[in-house]
């Protein structure tokens, strides 16, 4: 692997070079929420944050997406390639893309996701200060995990330590060669220390492997009833989850045209499975919450050899009633 370093003062220059294409990076809104947004001024890019609120899927699998438009002439498909750059992905979000890709690739290729995803260059930012709800290390990755990225930048004090992880990343570094230096041994050491520090700061842990093995026998466990009691049935956990990918497809009439759109949907909503006859296979919050956990930790594992969770902690952080995935998994693991 090629490694480089970049002096911190060069970052602004790097970002403004990236602005030659569409650059998406963490920006702060009026409410103080940090989300990926189209960068107009590199100085606005937020560099100190635990994680963006809406995961990277919001760029790769947008909440509202046109599948096609139809008129008398027939069906017209949209252009989905963005050819942009995403800067500031956290390693957990970068990892989430692997599962999304598998889902959208298997058997039938969903080119909306695949083409868009492939058209982005992804520059990660290692987590030197993980959030209090992070538990990525429980998944065998961590705050410096570099898979799914083209470049990974890690803050080592005065500089960023840069891992060049793909051909695309290599090309970008070459195009901006004046901004990069060769790392010294001291830099490498600093990087190791930063990683160890960051990993040490992750305070939450759960035995994911054991939990997912135990799910097979936990279906009728009382924990589903107990933990779902406080759930109010909103969609926060799923919509902010980097791997949740369920969707709906509906038609909209726009003047004389029809637009078929795909929008995020979630198994936490009762109408998700509600049939026109009134029958609902998952009628209460208990079945719905259980399905979400099973889907993530069992069904996806069976079908795609991949767990549908990366330990980003967004669901823990944002649940209005404090439903806690780690607690649920721990109870399953101990059952």
């Amino acid at each position: 692997m090629i490694t480089k370093v970049m002096e911190k003062k060069k970052l602004q220059k790097f970002l403004s070079n990236l602005c030659n294409q569409k650059l998406f990076a963490p920006l702060k809104d009026e409410e103080g929420k940090i989300n990926f947004g189209l960068v107009k001024d590199p100085a606005e890019v937020v560099l100190e944050f635990a994680n963006v609120l809406k995961p990277v899927k919001s760029l790769l699998f947008p909440q509202t997406e046109t599948i096609f438009e139809a008129d008398e002439q027939g069906i017209h498909h949209p252009e989905v390639s963005e050819n942009g750059v995403i800067f500031g992905l956290r390693p957990c979000d970068a990892k989430s893309v692997r599962l999304l890709r598998k889902v959208f690739e298997k058997d039938y290729k969903d080119n909306y996701f695949l083409q868009r995803e492939g058209s982005y260059l992804k520059i990660g930012l290692a987590c030197t200060v993980p959030g209090e709800n992070c538990f990525c290390t429980s998944f065998g990755q961590g705050p410096f995990f570099n898979e799914g990225l083209d470049l990974l930048l890690a803050d080592i004090g005065e500089k960023y330590y840069v891992e060049v992880l793909s051909e695309k990343g290599k090309k970008l570094v070459e195009e901006n060669s004046e901004l990069f230096l060769e790392p010294t041994e001291a830099d490498m050491e600093l990087r190791q220390i930063a990683q160890a520090n960051a990993e040490g700061k992750i305070g939450r842990e759960v035995n994911v492997k054991r939990a997912s093995e135990k799910l097979g026998q936990a279906y009728d466990n009382a924990l589903w009833d107990e933990t779902s009691k406080i759930c109010i049935g909103c969609g926060i956990c799923a919509y902010l989850c980097p791997t949740c990918h369920c969707f709906d497809m509906t038609d909209e009439k726009v003047a004389s045209r029809t637009r078929r759109i795909r929008t995020w949907d979630t198994c936490m909503f009762s109408y998700f499975t509600l049939q026109a006859s009134g029958h609902n296979p998952r009628p209460t919050k208990k079945e719905r919450l259980r399905n979400r956990v099973y889907h993530k930790f069992k069904y996806l594992l069976e079908n795609f050899d991949e767990i549908g969770c990366v330990g980003c902690g967004r669901c823990l952080e944002n649940c209005p009633s404090g439903v806690n995935l780690i607690e649920i998994l721990s109870r399953v693991a101990e059952s």
Partner: protein, 270 residues
């Protein structure tokens, strides 16, 4: 060229028949009279553009020279479909799903048990079996709430002359009805088909299916001999949108046809 997996192709409505109150069948014809290759038990995603898309199973058999679907008016899209007239265009993609394992069943007796709008996949299978002549005996136990709700009653009665054992029923006594009065599961017990070298296939409302399975077991059918097609809310038809799962399987692509044996191993979420 990029492939778009959610994009349908146009089909003209050639003929519409009122099959029951709220239920119509639609004969569809593709551009250039293109023929669709499909199996009984598979389904199409049918769009009324501007309204939406829904899954609908084949009413006809691939051995017939026309393609029909039969739709009960339930929600937004089916209501829109019911408003269309012959000559108008709908859009379809598919066929999707596994369909019935018709090859595995050759040489066996078929017992088809249906209720109400559950007839279409059974009709498709029945004609397939008749036309292929690879099956031993075919028996149909079919019922509905009332005479008016029976789909294709006349046609089904005529099948008797082709050697099909047809037993019809309605739930409540009505003038002019000479056949069985009562629920489908009861009629099934009365008919008492033999489980020997047989396959039973059932389709209908969930409550009927529940009792049909109980009664089939009473008659000696094993779980592996009982098949059903499941109804689920579906959007993509390709195992991606995530709503039709029962445990780790997707009804849209791993089903909709399941043996009772397989279904028993899944969580009871259907």
């Amino acid at each position: 060229m990029t492939e778009y997996i959610y994009s349908p192709k146009p089909a003209k409505i050639k003929k519409i028949r009122q099959e029951a109150p709220d239920t119509k069948s639609f004969e569809l014809e593709f551009e250039g009279k293109e023929k669709l290759t499909y199996l009984p038990g598979q389904y199409l995603m049918l769009s009324v553009l501007g309204e939406g898309e829904f899954p609908v199973t084949f009413f006809t058999s691939p051995t017939e020279d026309r393609l029909e679907v039969c739709v009960k008016r339930m929600g937004k899209v089916t209501t829109a479909l019911h408003r269309l007239e012959p000559g108008e265009t709908v859009w379809v993609r598919g066929p999707y799903g596994n369909g019935f394992p018709v090859e595995e069943w050759s040489g066996k007796r078929l017992v088809l048990v249906g209720g109400g709008i559950g007839l279409p996949p059974l009709r498709s299978l029945l004609y397939y079996a008749l036309d292929r002549q690879k099956y031993k005996e075919i028996s149909l136990v079919y019922g509905a709430r009332s005479i008016a709700d029976l789909i294709r009653e006349e046609e089904l009665v005529k099948l008797r002359s082709r050697g099909v054992k047809v037993d019809l029923s309605i739930d409540k006594e009505e003038d002019g009805w000479n056949e069985f009065v009562g629920f489908v599961p009861d009629n099934l017990l009365r008919v008492s088909p033999s489980p020997e070298n047989s396959i039973a296939v059932t389709c209908g409302p969930p409550i009927m299916i529940k009792y049909v399975i109980q009664n089939l077991q009473k008659l000696g059918f094993e779980a592996g001999q009982i098949f059903m097609t499941l109804e689920m809310k579906m959007k993509c038809g390709l195992g991606k949108c995530g709503r039709c799962n029962i445990g780790g399987i997707y009804v849209c692509k791993d089903g909709p046809v399941f043996s009772y044996q397989r279904l028993k191993s899944l969580p009871p979420e259907f």
